[in-house]
Amino acid sequence: MKLNFMSCRRASELAAKQCITALSRGERIWLGMHLLACAACRKIGLQISAIEQTLRLLQEPDATHEATGGPQLSDESRRRIQSVLADRT
């Protein structure tokens, strides 16, 4: 299974699978061996980890909106929600 051993596709799949469920011992070893041999997958792995660290900053969009000038409720929906709330207060 030499070709399979070098499959970057499988490596990236196992890395994603690992976020959902524990890998088997064989899978862990396979992934470790692949990463040992494959610079591209190491690099992509680091990039994805960095992206995911950044993603967590979006948990609270308020942390970002000043910088991005984030989206806002339209005036129309603002008025509509105001009046719906006023009706029930």
Binding site: L3, N4, M6, S7, C8, R9, R10, S12, E13, A15, A16, K17, Q18, C19, I20, T21, L31, G32, L35, A39, A40, C41, R42, K43, G45, L46, I48, S49, A50, I51, E52, Q53, T54, L55, R56, L57, L58, Q59, E60, D62, A63, T64, E66, A67, G69, G70, P71, Q72, L73, S74, S77, R78, R80, I81, Q82, V84, L85, A86, R88, T89
Partner: protein, 251 residues
């Protein structure tokens, strides 16, 4: 919310800030993509927060409307659906106002209600098509028939966690998120942004664990490629050209 990022970052860090050395391949293998159980900087309603009373309802939309809207829009990128969810949240909050006892900030309490509304919304709108996932050609094309990367990854000029301080990068990230296919986006957001446990995500989206990791795999690769094209591949966007030891310049 403050964004605390260390000044000096090694090649990579795990979530506790421990450096991952490039030589340590086995721990790297475990690190690569691994998510530990939920431990986030999210504010929680705890007994230690000081008591506060709810502001009067006519102030809600002005004070919290945009915040809730952004929260919803990131997760349901359809303006009218997001507005609808904000309205439902305020109405539920109005009805249930008595139950707010100041255990947490009022805004946090509202976000908590919105989260429930969002999950209901996802449950209603997600239909599982079949047990096997349909192929994703964009992802298939990233590999040749031997399963090797067709295009080797570009070296990125900076660490995204560092870039996060810049709003533009986060805006690009959101554009790339919104460009993901709906089902992939939902899986990625619930698991990686909201940090819901995998079993919970499977329940909400009515998926098997295999469906979920297949979607997550695709979403991550698409997101990476999108950022490489839209941000890192764009020379003007690179904020610095310094070669620091340990940045993604290797290979």
């Amino acid at each position: 919310m403050t964004i605390a990022l260390p000044e000096h970052r090694p090649l990579a860090m795990d979530r506790t800030g421990k450096a991952i050395s490039e030589g340590d391949f086995f721990s790297f293998a475990l690190f690569y993509g691994k998510r530990h159980p939920v431990k986030s900087g999210r504010p929680t309603c705890g007994p230690n927060a000081c008591a506060a009373s709810a502001p009067s309802p006519e102030l809600w939309v002005g004070q919290f409307g945009d915040r809730l809207y952004r929260f919803a829009l990131l997760r349901v990128p359809d303006r009218s659906a997001a507005e609808e969810l904000v309205q439902e949240t305020f109405l539920a909050a109005l009805k249930d106002r008595e139950s707010f006892r100041g255990q947490c900030e009022f805004a946090t309490w509202l976000v908590g209600i919105l989260k429930h509304k969002l999950i209901d919304h996802l449950r209603k709108t997600t239909r599982q098509t079949s047990l096997s996932e349909t192929p994703d050609e964009t992802v298939d094309e990233m590999f040749n028939r031997l399963g090797h990367w067709r295009n080797p990854p570009a070296s990125w000029a900076a660490d995204p966690a560092e870039l996060a301080i810049q709003g533009e990068f986060l805006a690009t990230l959101q554009v790339c998120l919104a460009a993901l296919p709906e089902q992939q986006r939902q899986a990625l957001i619930l698991r990686m942004i909201d940090e819901e446990p995998a079993e919970q995500v499977c329940k909400i989206l009515n998926l098997t664990p295999t469906n979920l990791w297949v979607r997550l795999h695709r979403a991550r690769l698409r997101l990476r490629l999108c950022l490489e094209n839209k941000w890192f591949g764009h020379p003007v966007a690179r904020p610095r050209s310094g070669t620091r030891k340990g940045t993604a310049h290797e290979a």
